[in-house]
Amino acid sequence: MDNLFQRSWLVFIRMQATTVVLILLAIVLVTLANVLLRFLGPGSLTWADEFARVSFVMFSFLAAALACGFGAHLVVDGIVNKATGIIRTVIHAFQALVAGVFFLTIIVIGYTQALDNLGQRTPAIYFPVGVMYGVVAFSGVLMLINSLMATTLGAVSVHAGRLVLGEPEELLEEVA
């Protein structure tokens, strides 16, 4: 049964990773095309900058949600790691509570902002601003699910180009 849960968890995280990577590739290709067309073609794409920025907002929050599944968000745990017994349990419960409050805040405010901005569109690509906030709210839901899954079933990591369950690679160290 454990394996079924773990397999489902990996499928779920692979779907998110695919989405996030596709958005990132779209940003890369549009920005690259914009630069190349400026020098080699008829001129810049007027919509490229806005497309890249709007996509980047959605990418950032969805990628942050994906990072929850990897257990990759930055933490200073030197002091907490020294705690043992009941103190350690209380600290972990406190961390989970704060994380829960954070995710719910993103969901609730994101949802409210999505409704408030549904009629507003960006100037160049006419993208609904409400949808952008909707994606932010949705990423809050994914953060909640991914964090719960990573805690109960184990964090995901990249190994030889594949997503596997296990300790995250040196992502935190890479940040430095």
Partner: protein
């Protein structure tokens, strides 16, 4: 009083092991509620900060950096440095720093530098007879060049928080980075010359052969620096050009990048960018609420009671950041301190680019000092040496780094001259 309470609440959450981005977000929302400000301001500020073309450079340079290692460019860069400096007695230490200088020009991350350079050179240095602790120390210290010499993830984030031009920050890092590289090379040679002899002979044939292999990697800093300095493209556009270039070189010329490698690079880069962007987004609203609570002004008043001489204030800031950097991870330390220090710098009349470089260089020293010397721990792990031994060996390098920071702080032209030439 609101500002100090906010900072204290945030620090308590961070020390309790709450993820830094979550801690900033929750502190901000609670403050908004207590100050009777609409909570929608939290997400509006955060989303607006991410809705930025200059921050797009983060995923671009993260992907490019990962492609360099996966595609074999890093290895060739190290070979090139070895052909230049490997003939000296104690030359491998110099090669290590030289590789980091070259690698810093193509990657924006210190840890990527530690892993790429250390992974190849630490075993080689051990085999050549260098002390493992020394190999670890020189690797960690020289890896700090990564975020100083452009491109630099830290500079992009700094620009994202403060609005200072990322292109100018990149250009400003060149001379201080090269200066630090030179001082570290001298120290590495001075200590290393007693430990081992030369590993290669100085020959034009060796240099030309390594240059032929590594020349495509060396083009990357030329693209970035030349492009920005001559106004051909922005830092973000430089990022996407370097990314495309690294992909094409790795895939079509060196033929070392498989499809699976590329998928791994993209997923890792997406996750790392997600981590960084959530911090940047939360830092924007946190910085805004700190400013609303007049915290930077209070900080200025505290520091100016000690002295109103800008030079003394700059030195006090360095001492403060050295202490913070010892205990808090570099990006986190920057996120916490910059929203407070940047307005202080403006108030004291510091050049924003000069002040940025001083902040970044000072905080990076914390990556090689205990108790949180991340780079030193990674390098010691590669060298399979005790942390205590690596710390002892790193002392001369830390002294050199601190001295360099003071020189950079006291000679602003070292930082501001190159950006002043920008078109």
């Amino acid at each position: 009083m609101t500002g100090p309470i906010l900072l204290l609440a945030f620090l308590i959450l961070v020390l309790a092991g709450v993820r830094i981005a979550y801690a900033m977000g929750v502190t901000t929302v609670v403050a908004l509620i207590l100050l009777d400000i609409p909570t929608s301001a939290f997400l509006t500020r955060s989303v607006a900060s991410v809705n930025s073309f200059s921050l797009l450079a983060i995923p671009f340079f993260v992907i490019a950096g990962d492609l360099l290692t996966a595609g074999g460019i890093s290895r060739r860069i190290i070979k090139l440095a070895e052909s230049f400096f490997g003939w000296m007695r104690g030359g491998l230490g110099v090669v290590n720093v030289g590789s980091s200088v070259l690698f810093a020009g193509v990657s924006g991350s210190a840890a990527a530098d530690t892993a790429a350079v250390g992974g190849v050179l630490i075993p080689e240095m051990k085999r050549a007879g260098y002390r493992p602790g020394f190999a670890a120390a020189v690797t960690a210290a020289s890896a700090t060049l990564g975020p100083i010499i452009p491109p630099s993830l830290l500079m992009i984030i700094y620009g994202g928080i403060t609005g200072v031009s990322v292109g100018s920050l990149f250009i400003a890092g060149i001379l201080p980075g090269l200066f630090l590289g030179l001082t570290l090379m001298l120290m590495a040679w001075w200590i290393g010359r007693k430990q081992a002899s030369a590993v290669t002979t100085l020959s034009l044939k060796n240099i030309l052969s390594a240059a032929r292999q590594g020349i495509l990697g060396i083009f990357i800093p030329v693209i970035i620096i030349g492009g920005i300095l001559f106004g051909v493209f922005t830092a973000t556009e430089a990022g996407v050009i370097v990314l495309a270039y690294s992909y094409l070189v790795s895939k079509l010329i060196y033929r070392e990048l498989s499809h699976r490698d590329f998928v791994g690079v993209m997923v890792r880069s997406a996750v790392l960018s997600g981590v960084l962007m959530l911090i940047v987004a939360m830092a924007a609203s946190f910085a805004w609420i700190l400013a609303y609570a007049n915290t930077p002004r209070a900080m200025v008043e505290v520091l100016t009671t000690l002295s109103d001489d800008p030079t003394v204030v700059m030195l006090l800031v360095i001492v403060l950041l050295l202490i913070v950097g010892m205990f808090v991870e570099t990006i986190a330390a920057m996120i916490i301190t910059v929203p407070v220090l940047f307005p202080l710098g403006e108030e004291m009349g510091f050049d924003p680019i000069h002040f940025a470089l001083v902040i970044v260089m000072t905080l990076l020293i914390g990556t090689v000092t205990p108790p949180l010397g991340v780079l030193l721990y990674v390098a010691a792990g590669i060298a399979k040496v005790s942390i205590a031994n690596a710390i002892k060996e790193s002392i001369p390098f830390v002294v050199v780094m601190i001295a360099t920071v003071f020189v950079v702080a006291l000679v602003p032209a070292l930082v501001t001259w190159l950006p002043s030439l920008q078109q």
